[in-house]
Amino acid sequence: MKVSGNVFKFGDNIDTDVIIPARYLTSADPDHLRQHCMEDIDKSFKDRVKPGDIIVAGKNFGCGSSREHAPVAIKASGVSLVIASDFARIFYRNSINVGLPILECPEACGKISEGDVIEADFDTGVITDKTTGESFQANAFPEFIKKIMASGGLVGYTESELKD
């Protein structure tokens, strides 16, 4: 599976409090969360982001709270992929569980710029910056995550386990 879109670039340690501030956690409705996504770090994000766009960030993306509302807010914004040097572990897990694609690739994060158009292939882990022509190799999803993804996230996976 491939995705492509415009890049929104962020720095290191983008925490869940700026992805979706706690004051908006009184509802878990994706459409409500979308309207406040990244609000405390980039007020205009919600108006500028278009379906398919890609977030590229630095180290430790999604650090902080366990709120699943964070990957849900990003996914509901139409973002097709988040690439970071690495992710905080709860965010990593939550993203897989809710079906927000993520890739770890420090090299891509260092070289891709805001506004570039990039393409990523989840099966091979290849990221191509169409603006500069450069390519990067991220680790493709490990098999067990592909299995969860193939079941439509953790819910589908658990449903099939419960049937056994």
Partner: protein, 426 residues
């Protein structure tokens, strides 16, 4: 193959003789918990799964603490969803406000004798890592993981590598577990232990009280760790003999010890006497300084409480410092006992009167201001010294407000001085 404490607990709960870092395992869970923010979305997923009952009504815990007493209609609706589910499924550990068992999740689970050494716990709250202080494995997850765990009582884990924190010596006067964990986060950074366990060892642990250890493990997540864990010693055993005398007498808990030759990706030696009174300046918990180097920073508010520092020892420490002093005229100081039990003990001990005399406001147990929910949200440009766990942009209110993290002695002293300060200045 030699294993760390964490690896042994995971192996045992997965029914395996041994595990190695990187192994993917499915493990049985002793407890699964959520709060009023994370449980309602989990209930939605749970219902979608079409499961009739939770795997064990005594082992699925639902704790109201984030936006309670409810701050607005939406948070009341969230809480109602959880309350109705808890009643319908006869969840044993769901407590109403004001009841003697209620309080902030990570304060009450150890203190009510629910979590014991050797347990494996997941919770839809990042600070679930707190219980490692008791020699258990606990870690935070999201709502979907919570829902599936509520249904099956199992979840998958990737077995973590570990960093060994070798402690020697004794903490200096007024220096607490909070200063130690801030000091560690300052050393290794907010991603310094990403995906790893922080395993504490060494004779220095003897000088850390159980409340201090709970604070240390609580903030393991702030350097990215999967969990923090302390070996079980006399202090642990004494603690659980009080919190759960029945299971203690019946020896109904399991003590795990790391193998002598267990492998660690890194070993950090810390002489506790070197740990200063520490603060973390905005906007990362790793942005640490000696508190005594920040005494020019004026403040508007102090918060003493939270799952990090709302335990009995914390309130006792605050009371000792406030005795005979007044909160500075430019500061409001909010003290939040972490549980009804802590609140009641503070009341019975006459501590609330001392805090009230000093000019503190005393709140019912809640996470409230820590996450900018309610009960002490900051305005633009305001600065707060707080015993909570995060100082990210906008964490406690306006994006242009500031949170400085500290232990209780620095927070209480700062409230009196009207600026960042230390007890020896009083």
């Amino acid at each position: 193959m030699p294993m760390t404490m964490t690896q042994k607990i995971l192996a045992d709960h997965a029914g395996l003789d041994s595990v190695a870092p990187g192994d993917l395992i499915e493990a049985k869970l002793d407890y699964v918990l959520g709060n009023d923010v994370t449980t309602p979305p989990a209930i939605k997923v749970f219902e979608k799964l079409g499961v009739k009952d939770v795997f064990d009504k005594d082992r699925v815990l639902m704790i109201q603490d984030h936006f309670t007493p409810n701050k607005d209609i939406k948070s009341a609706e969230l809480n109602k969803t959880m309350r109705c589910f808890a009643r319908e499924h006869q969840i044993t550990h769901y407590y109403e406000l004001g009841r003697k068992e209620m309080g902030i999740e990570h304060v009450i689970l150890p203190d009510n004798g629910i979590v014991l050494p050797g347990d494996l716990v997941i919770g839809a709250d990042s600070h679930t890592c707190t219980y490692g202080a008791l020699g258990s494995f606990s870690t935070g997850v999201g709502s979907t993981d919570l829902a599936c765990a509520m249904a099956r009582g199992v979840t998958w884990f990737k077995v973590p590598d570990a960093i060994k924190i070798n402690l020697t010596g004794h903490l200096n006067k007024f220096v607490t577990g909070k200063d130690l964990i801030l000091y560690i986060i300052g050393k290794i950074g907010v991603d310094g232990a990403l995906y790893k366990s922080l395993e504490f060892a060494g004779e220095g642990i003897k000088s850390l009280s159980m409340d201090g250890r709970l604070t240390v493990c609580n903030m393991a997540i702030e350097c990215g760790a999967k969990n923090g864990i302390f070996p079980v010693d006399e202090i642990t055993l004494q603690y659980i003999s009080k919190t759960n005398p029945e299971r203690f007498s019946a020896k109904d808990f399991k003590v795990y010890t790391a193998d002598e030759d267990a492998e660690y990706s890194q070993v950090i030696d810390i002489d506790l006497a070197d740990v200063p009174l520490t603060v973390a300046l905005p906007h990362l918990p790793s942005n640490t300084r000696n508190a005594s180097d920040c005494t020019d920073m004026k403040i508007d508010q102090v918060v003493i409480g939270s799952c990090t520092n709302g335990r009995l020892e914390d309130i006792a420490t605050a009371v000792d410092i406030f005795k005979g002093h007044k909160v500075n005229e430019n500061v409001r100081c909010i003290v939040i006992p972490g549980s009804q039990k802590v609140y009641r003990q503070a009341l019975d001990n006459g501590w609330l009167q001392i805090l009230d005399d000093a000019g503190c406001v005393i709140s019912t147990p809640t996470c409230g201001p820590c996450l900018g929910g309610h009960m002490g949200v900051l305005a633009k440009g305001e600065r707060c010294v707080s015993t909570t766990n995060r100082n990210f942009v906008g964490r406690m209110g306006d994006v242009e407000s500031e949170v400085i993290l500290s232990g209780v002695p620095v927070a209480a002293s700062s409230a009196i001085l009207g600026r960042v300060g230390t007890p020896d200045e009083l």
